[in-house]
Assembly symmetry: C2
Homo-oligomer: 234 residues x 2
């Protein structure tokens, strides 16, 4: 039948591999959102039968895990900077940018681990944790304390990302319109402060906001480092 006329004028019939599957899945999610990632649709994107995908991901959930692992792999952590604080700052900004690059994947990043016990998560997902632990221990924290620090730090970081993505609106032209329109809907009586903050809400600087939060957190953590060396005594 003719030439099968593949989707993207690509190489006739690419050999198909886990990486290829996952990366087209990611592209699809980036372009059209999570709901667009169905087996049939992905199969069509790869010009293959949907069923062939099951050779590279046990089921849809596993495929989603694969996608978030793939995204997290974009986060490179170099332990070159000796100052742990500036290092944490750098990772934070890297992760922020990564989230902005793949906003549709963020729900996965945040949600998938909730249904998978820590030890059984895809390895790529655990790498940042391990590396940050290494970094903190290197910086002089007790392993146990390092874990606490990691939790505070990563917790804050994920929280910030969620916050920022919530207020992020794609088209900056529509931004003010939608925002004001939305706020206008709020009953003035019960939401006076929120409504008054309309203009401030409109120009949100995520990077600055993140830096500000980090400053607070890191100063607090530095305090812990000097004072709380004798932790986990029992």
């Amino acid at each position: 039948m003719a030439d099968s006329a593949g989707s993207q004028a690509g190489s006739r019939k690419a050999p198909l591999s886990r990486e290829l599957v996952l990366s087209t899945a990611l592209a699809l999610v980036d372009a059209e959102g999570l709901d667009a990632l169905t087996m049939r649709r992905l199969g069509q994107e790869l010009d293959r039968d949907p069923m062939s995908l099951y050779r590279y991901a046990a089921n849809r959930a596993a495929l989603l895990d694969g996608v978030s692992e793939l995204v997290l792999d974009e986060l490179a952590i170099f332990p070159d900077d000796p100052d742990w604080q500036s290092q944490l700052r750098k990772i934070a900004h890297d992760l922020r940018l990564l989230a902005l690059r793949h906003p549709n994947v963020v729900p996965l990043l945040v949600t998938r681990p909730l249904s998978t016990p820590l030890g059984l998560r895809p390895l790529g997902t655990l790498r940042p944790l391990e590396q940050i632990l290494a970094l903190l221990i290197e910086a002089g924290f007790t392993p146990a304390v390092a874990l606490h620090v990691y939790r505070a730090y990563y917790g804050f970081l994920y929280g910030h990302i969620l916050n920022e993505l919530q207020e992020y609106i794609v088209d900056p032209d529509e931004n003010e319109a939608i925002l004001r329109l939305g706020l206008h809907r709020l009953p003035a009586k019960s939401f006076p402060h929120l409504r008054a903050l309309g203009p401030v809400l409109a120009d949100y600087d995520g990077a600055a906001e993140l830096d500000q939060g980090l400053a607070i957190l890191l100063s607090g953590l530095a305090g812990q480092l000097s004072a709380g060396q004798r932790e986990s005594p029992s």
Copy 2:
């Protein structure tokens, strides 16, 4: 046909209302998870045709929004305590407990707002924001600064909750087994620190962890309050 033999020996045929629909939806999610909440299943739970639900929620997404709104309504904020710090601490713990009470809803809480511009969210969802803003402004923060503080605070809070739920495992007996089993799977070479932390990971005290993080955050914020009164200068 007998007596239609309803599901739960309940009152013959309850009149059905938005609240009833949402609360049974919540109960279902609490008991069996998000995936169990399908229109058909919920209809069956209420002993009604699935289609009747559309009178109380425009579609499934709206129903999910309704559920998260319902959950957030459980969070009562009383502005009685004059000390804003202890007030924030109380809210934090309340929200934490709420999350532990409805772990299956947390993904909704975190995820739904990402697909809804701020101004168009269910009102119940915005109430905490408004109330905390009021609290902070009352405490002496500039409205603009109050917004920043709110973001740092709530960001951290959501982050903590996600962290805690990730490490939370239902059956404490299986806990250690699963955990160790999971960790054992990790290649010792690339994950030395994580593996070494097994025991520490096993006994996680969420409340303490939260308090610790809050202490760090609040001390930093208090600094901002005294020093940074001249914010948003332009």
